[in-house]
C-alpha cells in the first residue's frame, strides 16, 4: 500500500515536467509572436528595432531548449516572470486570487457529494417508482443546463425577486449559495445518475442475491453488499468532477463577481499575456494532478484488491 502511494507520488514528477514542456512548446510554437504581444501590451509601436530589443529582453533570441530551462528553473524557484499587461510578477497575483477559486470549487465538490449520493441511493432503492423518476429528471436537467444561465436564473429568482441572497461578491456563507449551486449542478446530476446505475448493477450480482437469500434485511444488504462496491466508480468519477468543477468555477466567477482567478485568467487569455497563461495553466494542471492523486489514494484505500496488494498489480 505504501509502495503504491510512493510510486504514484514519484510518477507525478515526470508528469508535471511533461506538462510544463508541452505548455511551453505549444505557446512558443503557436501562431503569434510573444515579442509582438509584449510591445502591444506595453503600448510601444512595433518598429523592427523595438521588436529586436524586446526579443533580446525577453530572451526569445536564445535556443528553445535554453528558454525552457530558464523558464522552468525560475519557475521552480517560484518566479513565473512578469505579466506583459500589468508589469507585475505573475505568481503573487495568481496566488492572491487562487484561494477564492479553490474555496468555491471545493465547496462545490462537497455539495456535489452531499447531494448526489443520497439522491443516487434513493433512486436505486425505489427503482422505477416516483423517487427514481424525480432523480432521473433532475439528472437529465442537470446535464443539459448551461451553468452560466443557471447562475443568472438563480440571481433573477433569489436576488432580484425575493431579495434573499446577495447577487455579487464574496461575503460570508450566503454569498456562496448561488455560485456553488451553479457550479455543482451538472456534476451533481452526473454523479447521482452514475451512483444509481452502479448500485443497480451491483444489486444484480450473485453475492447480493446470496445475501438476500440469507435473509438479511434490505438495509443491511444495501449498506454492506451494494454500497461498498457501487461506491468505487463514484470515487473514480470524483477525479473527473474536480476538473469540471474547476472549469465551471472559472465561468461562474465572472457572473457573481467572485474574486477568484477566473477573471484574471480570462483577461490574460484575451490579451495573450504569455507569462500569465503559462503560469495559470501549469497551476491548474498541478491542482488537477494532485486532486487525482488524492482520488487514487482514496480509491486504493477503499478497494481491498489494491489495499492488500504489494503494489505490483496496481
Amino acid at each position: 500500500m505504501t509502495a503504491y502511494i510512493l510510486r504514484r507520488l514519484l510518477l507525478i514528477v515526470p508528469m508535471l515536467f511533461g506538462a510544463s514542456l508541452v505548455i511551453f512548446l505549444m505557446l512558443r510554437l503557436g501562431p503569434s509572436d510573444p515579442a509582438l504581444d509584449y510591445l502591444r501590451l506595453s503600448k510601444v509601436p512595433p518598429t523592427p528595432q523595438a521588436l529586436e530589443e524586446a526579443r533580446r529582453f525577453l530572451g526569445l533570441d536564445l535556443p528553445l531548449s535554453t528558454q525552457y530551462l530558464n523558464w522552468i528553473g525560475r519557475a521552480l524557484a517560484g518566479d513565473f516572470g512578469t505579466s506583459y499587461a500589468l508589469q507585475r510578477p505573475v505568481l503573487p497575483d495568481i496566488l492572491h486570487f487562487l484561494p477564492a477559486t479553490l474555496a468555491l470549487a471545493g465547496t462545490a465538490l462537497a455539495f456535489t457529494m452531499i447531494i448526489s449520493v443520497p439522491l443516487g441511493i434513493w433512486a436505486a432503492r425505489y427503482r422505477d417508482r416516483w423517487p427514481d423518476h424525480a432523480v432521473r429528471l433532475i439528472a437529465f436537467l442537470g446535464v443539459s443546463m448551461p451553468n452560466f444561465w443557471l447562475g443568472f436564473l438563480l440571481v433573477m429568482v433569489f436576488s432580484v425577486h425575493l431579495g434573499w441572497l446577495p447577487p455579487m461578491g464574496r461575503d460570508g456563507p450566503p454569498s456562496l449559495v448561488m455560485p456553488v449551486i451553479a457550479v455543482a449542478f451538472m456534476s451533481l446530476a452526473i454523479n447521482a445518475r452514475l451512483l444509481r446505475a452502479s448500485m443497480l448493477e451491483v444489486a444484480g450480482q450473485r453475492h447480493v442475491r446470496y445475501a438476500r437469500l440469507r435473509g438479511l434485511s434490505d438495509r443491511v444488504v444495501e449498506r454492506r453488499h451494494i454500497l461498498r462496491n457501487a461506491w468505487l466508480p463514484i470515487i473514480t468519477a470524483m477525479g473527473m468532477h474536480v476538473g469540471e468543477l474547476l472549469g465551471g468555477t472559472l465561468v461562474i466567477e465572472t457572473i457573481f463577481g467572485w474574486p477568484g482567478v477566473g477573471r484574471y485568467a480570462v483577461s490574460a487569455i484575451l490579451n495573450r499575456d504569455y507569462p500569465v497563461i503559462q503560469c495559470f495553466t501549469l497551476l491548474m494542471v498541478v491542482i488537477f494532478v494532485l486532486c487525482n492523486l488524492l482520488v487514487d489514494i482514496v480509491y486504493a484505500l477503499a478497494d481491498p484488491r489494491i489495499r492488500r496488494s504489494t503494489g505490483d498489480t496496481a
Partner: protein, 292 residues
C-alpha cells in the same frame, strides 16, 4: 440485468406507460432538433427583422410588443431574429467541429488499432492525456495560444474531444481484426485502407452516431460558454452566449434578455441529449440502462 426486488416480484411488464412516455420524449426531441436544423439552414429567410439592425428608438421593448414577438435588446435589435441567427452559428460551429473530430478520431483510432505495437501505444497515450485533462481548461489554454475567435474555438473544442472517438474506433478495429470475413477480404487482395473503409468503418457507425449526438449538446455548451466569456464568437454576432453576455448588465431591469437565449440553449442541448439517449437504446443495446 435482472434485479431481485425483495418481496413482490411483479413479473414481466407489458408495454407500459413509461415506454410510451419515452417514445413521446423522443418525438419531442426529434421535433426540436428538426426545428433547429430548419432555423440554422433557412435562418436568413425566416427572421422577421435583420438580427443586427440597431434601432435605438425601440430599445428594450418587452415581449409581445408590436412587431417584436420576444421584444428587443438594449440596442433595439429584435431578439427572436437574433435567436434564429444564433442557431446557425451554434449548430454550424458544432457540425464543423464534429466533422473534424470524426476525421481525427476515426483515422487515429484506425491507425492505432491496425498498427498495434509502439504506434498504438503512442497514440493512445496521447489520447489518454487529452481525455483526462478537463475540457474547459484545455480549451482556455488553446485559445490563449491561438487567440480568440470562432475558428480557434472550433480547434480548441475539437482537440479536447477527439480522443474518445479514437479510443472507440480502436476498440472496434481490435475486436474485429481477426474475424474471418476480414481475412477473406485480405486474401482477395484488398489493401488495409480499403478494408478499413469498406468493412470496419460501417461497424463503427452506430457507436459514432450515439457518441456524436450526445456530444453535440456538450459542444454547444462549450461554444456558448466560451463566447459568454468573450473568448469565442465576438460581440456583434448573434450567438446565444454572446447575447447572454451582452444582456448581463440588464439583469435587474430586463431579465428576459438573459432568459430567452439561455432557454434556447437549454432546450437545444436537452433535445440532442434526449435524442442521443434514445439512439443509444436503439443502436447500442449493451449500453442500455447503463446511464439512463
Amino acid at each position: 440485468m435482472t434485479t431481485v426486488s425483495s418481496g413482490n416480484s411483479r413479473g414481466i411488464r407489458p408495454l407500459n406507460p413509461a415506454r410510451r412516455f419515452r417514445l413521446g420524449l423522443f418525438w419531442i426531441a426529434g421535433s426540436i432538433v428538426l426545428l433547429l436544423a430548419v432555423a440554422a439552414l433557412a435562418g436568413p429567410w425566416l427572421v422577421p427583422h435583420d438580427p443586427n439592425a440597431v434601432d435605438l428608438a425601440s430599445r428594450l421593448q418587452p415581449a409581445g410588443s408590436a412587431g417584436h414577438l420576444l421584444g428587443t435588446d438594449h440596442l433595439g435589435r429584435d431578439i427572436l431574429s437574433r435567436l434564429i441567427a444564433g442557431t446557425r452559428v451554434s449548430l454550424g460551429c458544432v457540425m464543423i467541429t464534429l466533422a473534424i473530430i470524426l476525421g481525427i478520431g476515426l483515422s487515429l483510432g484506425g491507425i492505432a488499432g491496425y498498427a498495434g505495437g509502439r504506434v498504438d501505444q503512442v497514440i493512445m497515450r496521447v489520447a489518454d492525456v487529452f481525455m483526462t485533462f478537463p475540457t474547459l481548461i484545455l480549451a482556455l489554454f488553446m485559445i490563449g495560444m491561438l487567440g480568440t475567435g470562432l475558428v480557434n474555438v472550433i480547434i480548441a473544442i475539437a482537440l479536447s474531444h477527439w480522443a474518445w472517438y479514437a479510443r472507440i474506433t480502436r476498440g472496434i478495429v481490435l475486436s474485429m481484426r481477426h474475424r474471418d470475413f476480414l481475412r477473406a477480404a485480405q486474401l482477395s487482395g484488398a489493401g488495409r485502407f480499403r478494408i478499413f473503409v469498406e468493412h470496419l468503418l460501417p461497424a463503427t457507425f452506430s457507436q459514432m452516431i450515439v457518441l456524436a449526438t450526445l456530444d453535440i449538446g456538450h459542444m454547444m455548451l462549450h461554444v456558448s460558454g466560451l463566447s459568454f466569456l468573450g473568448l469565442g464568437v465576438q460581440a456583434p454576432t448573434a450567438e446565444w452566449g454572446v447575447m447572454i453576455a451582452d444582456a448581463r448588465q440588464f439583469v435587474w431591469t430586463s431579465p428576459m434578455l438573459i432568459f430567452w437565449p439561455g432557454l434556447a440553449l437549454f432546450l437545444s442541448v436537452m433535445a440532442f441529449n434526449l435524442l442521443g439517449d434514445a439512439l443509444r437504446d436503439r443502436l447500442d443495446p449493451h449500453l442500455k440502462g447503463a446511464h439512463a
